[in-house]
Symmetry: C2
Subunit: 188 residues, 2 copies
DNA sequence: CCTAATAATCCAATATATTGGATTGTATAT
DNA sequence: ATATACAATCCAATATATTGGATTATTAGG
């Protein structure tokens, strides 16, 4: 078990690694971000726990985002998980007239979930709001679908992709013909 | 440091909203997180830019992650983007014997990218390391594939899903028969 | 109206994050 | 070895994040 250093330790290593990988000096990074070299040095040595403001500046300068910088992605084996087809769970009609195949490993629930959804002629999938900041990506594989999220709506055909906030009521509906879609839920 | 205003403001609203949505008082949140009520109050009013350490405690207590708290998902229209099938770009053979259809909107590049990959009989997709923390999800739609990431490797059949770190050299290879796969890249 | 009780903000004391300049370290070239 | 140039760390001064306790709302009973 690679143990949980405190958050500052992890951040330190991540920052140093990404800065070096871009071939930047502390000075250069300082000019890019507006954070002093001294501060950068301290942060990279785990002697200071930066403010969100300064961290924000750094993420902008180094072109990384908070998730990547702070998530606890272990350094263990690079392959995190394999889920076999035989164990792929299937949910029948959570709305009406649709079947859902869960393609993502269970330990990713809430982070990044991948579903294949099969709609019957007039099937629909109606969902309550998810967590604040939750976003759904959907690509239509076959047929045609209409999406409603909050007050917005859109009509999609085969091959179309839509991205919408899912922290409000949203629904996906097949119009007149069976349809198949791929749904990716981020931060549910 | 012009952007501090924004980030603190956003954070403030997000925090208050999620705390309220859980029906917690400042006192309760304080006990859960170990951060003083005063601090919480200041943060929620945008008068203080918390330290990563304290922010970390808060995310643990409120069960949200940094991405959700700080990402700039504006409250504008809920539907962020629609990409039509006719505009779906296709890349031919980045490795050898594979075609890639980009299913995600371009403004999401680097955040969440979705690809459909078509392999010929012995086609392969070989990729250089992506950003630190980058993770790829892949589901095999048809055929069989072998994946190598860093020092690990795995064999996958139709319907199987794998998740692996992509901040090191990685490759996907069809063995003996044409294959189709869905690839999701997180934080490239 | 008065209390009691809980929630949020204000305030002074303290800890720590952040800065600019000085110092040390590490190369490369003369 | 000396000099030059740049990169990283150390150090004192300052700004600001964080805390505990006092103060003000706000609500609910009597």
């Amino acid at each position: 078990m690679v143990e949980n250093f405190n958050i500052s330790e992890r951040l330190a290593k991540r920052l140093k690694k990404t800065r070096k990988s871009k071939g930047l000096s502390l000075e250069a990074t300082s000019k890019l971000s507006g954070v002093s070299r001294s501060m950068l040095s301290q942060i990279e040595r785990g002697e200071s726990s930066p403010t969100v403001a300064t961290l924000w500046s750094l993420t902008r300068a180094l072109q990384v985002d908070f998730a990547g910088l702070l998530d606890e992605s272990d350094t263990g084996s690079t392959i995190k998980e394999v889920m076999r087809a035989s164990r792929t769970p299937t949910i029948n009609s959570q709305g009406e007239g649709c079947r859902i195949r869960i393609l993502s490993p269970p330990d990713q629930a809430g982070q990044l979930e991948v579903y294949e959804i099969l709609f019957t002629k007039n099937g629909a999938l109606i969902s309550a709001p998810h967590r604040q900041g939750c976003v759904e990506h959907m690509t239509v594989l076959e047929g045609a679908l209409s999406v409603v999220a909050g007050d917005d709506g859109a009509e999609l055909g085969a091959g179309d992709t839509i991205r919408y906030a899912a922290d409000c009521r949203h629904s996906i509906r097949a119009n007149g013909q069976p349809a198949k879609a791929l749904l990716i839920v981020h931060n549910s």
